[in-house]
Symmetry: C2
Subunit: 405 residues, 2 copies
């Protein structure tokens, strides 16, 4: 079903291969499909297993057995009645990716990246990442039986990458900046023929996040939300989700795409939201991101300009500061029992602000993407939680607590 790769800028086409920038203009490459050759029906889908590979016709690589059997994706879409009420909404859903196999949405692109690596016969994979992607790539590599190299700046605390290490990844800590470690990862990928999932396999990798659109539409009974709220860092996930809905329309599964796309950013790293609000057409990088939402702290978003164009057409952007983010996490946990990392708090906080600003309709069908697990950043909420109430082991010690005194 995949025809090849195409430059997003000059439209030059390439056969399917390990490359990520255009030879001519250095533009980003996207996978292209022959939609006419796709023979997929809703009935066919209804009989497939509940994982992200059910949409294989719309993905660039078919999974090997070791990857297929991991039950990736098809995470719950939860009707969030109590949170909706707290926000003054009537029709709110949470897409809960905190229960993916490695506990974030990064399972989706990492699965595609590792599948592509196997497909191209590569003998090792890796990534430049300090968090969720490192864990996801390491886990899929473990299942595939490939060594995994995670490249990070040496300033990162080891606790942030221990999940990836547990899966057996080798951690390469570069004495330098994030840019230094990204550049070294890119060089290593090329020189040593390593599938760096978010670099030289990026065109395949990003396709994984389209399943966040496919699943939502199918879980809504092949309906499309009016509004989607997407935590946004590089912008790759937001772009992929939008393309996912567009592809469903292309193959006739839905009649429209979401009317409003919301990019949710942290105020301490808001290059897209700032450009949107200031009416700019270019993204000014944030030199020193400063936010508790570490997984959104990308100061120079690779897909930022494409996201901005989408938002100008039919979207909104807003950002939330650290206090608002924590309050977003708290609100989601205490109304819906869903414990998310700060990036999820960003989505809830931004939704709250936009409702208060009157920019989102109370009766809109809204889907809010919760992309990671609260256990990934246990220190964040802990800082504001109350101390336990200490009592003697006597029933009378409880009276003021349990009677609401």
């Amino acid at each position: 079903m995949i025809i090849g790769l195409r430059c997003r800028e000059c439209k030059k086409e390439f056969s399917p291969s390990i490359r990520y920038v255009c030879d001519d203009c250095f533009g980003a490459l996207d996978v292209i499909y022959d939609y006419d050759s796709i023979h997929l029906t809703k009935n066919l889908l209804a009989n497939r297993e509940n994982n992200m590979w059910r949409y294989k016709e719309l993905l660039p690589v078919e999974p090997q057995d070791s990857l297929y059997s991991f039950h990736s994706g098809w995470t719950p879409l939860i009707k969030a009645s109590k949170l909706a009420k707290a926000l003054g909404l009537n029709n709110l859903y949470i897409k809960n990716d905190s229960v993916n196999p490695t506990f974030s949405f990064k399972d989706r692109p990492a699965a595609l990246g590792v599948a592509a690596a196997l497909n191209f016969g590569l003998e090792a994979v890796g990534c430049a990442s300090t968090g969720n992607l490192a864990a996801a790539t390491a886990a899929y590599a473990a299942r595939a039986g490939l060594p995994c190299y995670v490249v990070i700046p040496s300033s990162i605390e080891q606790s942030k990458i221990s999940q990836a290490q547990a899966y057996g990844a080798t951690i390469i800590a570069v004495e330098g900046t994030y840019d230094d470690s990204n550049r070294l990862a890119a060089q290593a990928g090329e020189y040593y023929n390593i599938g760096m999932v978010n670099i030289n396999l990026r065109p395949y990798y990003v396709e994984g996040s389209k399943t966040l659109a496919f699943e939502v539409a199918e879980q809504l009974g092949w309906d499309v939300p009016d509004t989607i709220v997407v935590p946004t860092a590089s912008g790759a996930m937001l772009n992929a989700i939008c393309r996912g809905f567009e592809e469903l329309m292309e193959i006739g599964f839905v009649r429209n795409t979401p009317a409003t796309i919301v990019a949710a950013q942290a105020s301490g790293c808001n290059p897209i939201s700032r450009a949107y609000k200031e009416g700019k057409d270019v993204i000014m990088p944030i030199q020193q991101p400063d936010t508790i939402a570490k997984s959104l702290a990308i100061g120079d978003p690779g897909d930022g300009i494409y996201v901005l164009r989408r938002l100008r057409n039919n979207g909104l952007a807003e950002d939330a500061d650290d206090d608002e983010i924590i309050e977003g996490c708290r609100l989601l946990a205490q109304t819906e029992g869903i414990f998310t990392e700060p990036a999820g708090g960003v989505a809830i906080a931004v939704l709250k602000k936009l409702v208060e600003q009157g920019k989102i309709g109370k009766d809109d069908k809204i889907v809010c993407y919760i992309t990671g697990n609260g256990l990934k950043a246990p220190d964040v909420l802990q800082s504001i939680l109350p101390r336990p109430i200490v009592v003697k082991p006597e029933l009378k010690a409880l009276s003021s607590i349990l009677l609401g005194g």
Copy 2:
């Protein structure tokens, strides 16, 4: 479908009510069903939603909407080919409860406990717990809109209960021992009419873990494993899983129950395994549990004697020390990409030992229950993980690493 409660010892029966010990003999109470009135078919099940409530006819309480919509249970059963190979087995599955909504198997009993509390019209819930159960009870209480009181000894570090706090639970830290805090929780439940899920709602609560049997059988195409490996603390989960398989046979869904039941314990808290291996018929409590598997550190297991009787009939028990537990976690993560807390490492380590001892057949169909998420105890594996390899930001610095030098 539920007739009432029955004393496990003297068989006295009670109508469905908030009680957990027999008036006459202080025996534990179990829920009893009228199996003849259950009209459940496999086809009926096949059309239900993929969550634990699909087996509602075999559960004591029907869920309220707020609980039903949480997508609890129906966690993946993963064919573990690489782990099987590492252990010299041919037919091994992992039941992965690390991806339940609150990231452990405790979602199952907590869901039943909170559903029962709502059913009985109680206005608050709680539990005596320091870990997974506290988090689960707090999350289901949040969804149900009930206050939640978690009673712990004051010596527990706050980090262990921050997930429960995030969901809005009030933490009551008792100046005293575990026994003191359990006793105070029991008194508070009775005096203040609080549904303490693992105390006064225990007969309903424990039924939730039966779904670990129902799901495995259905996911195997209504087949039953030859051998199940169950991390064991109080013994309530192992007992419930066994009753789950027995009930499926009772209603004609399967033709047998697992031939071999394995109770997997930590060597630092092994009252059941020790009694089994020493040929005793009573359980001698462990006074000072000392193991990294904190969620299994119950020195005086309430259901221990019932587990022991089952094991004498068709089971095995074994325990694993801290090094073996960590190695079990590492092995599972690096072969299957599944990151578990130490209790899961106990199950893998015990399976490994029993295979090496020749007590489990290589071709047996084995299901190993992984009951909690590795992010719950991030310090455990971290202690043995290698330091990252620090390099300068130059390609040549990688040659010895990437060429396997």
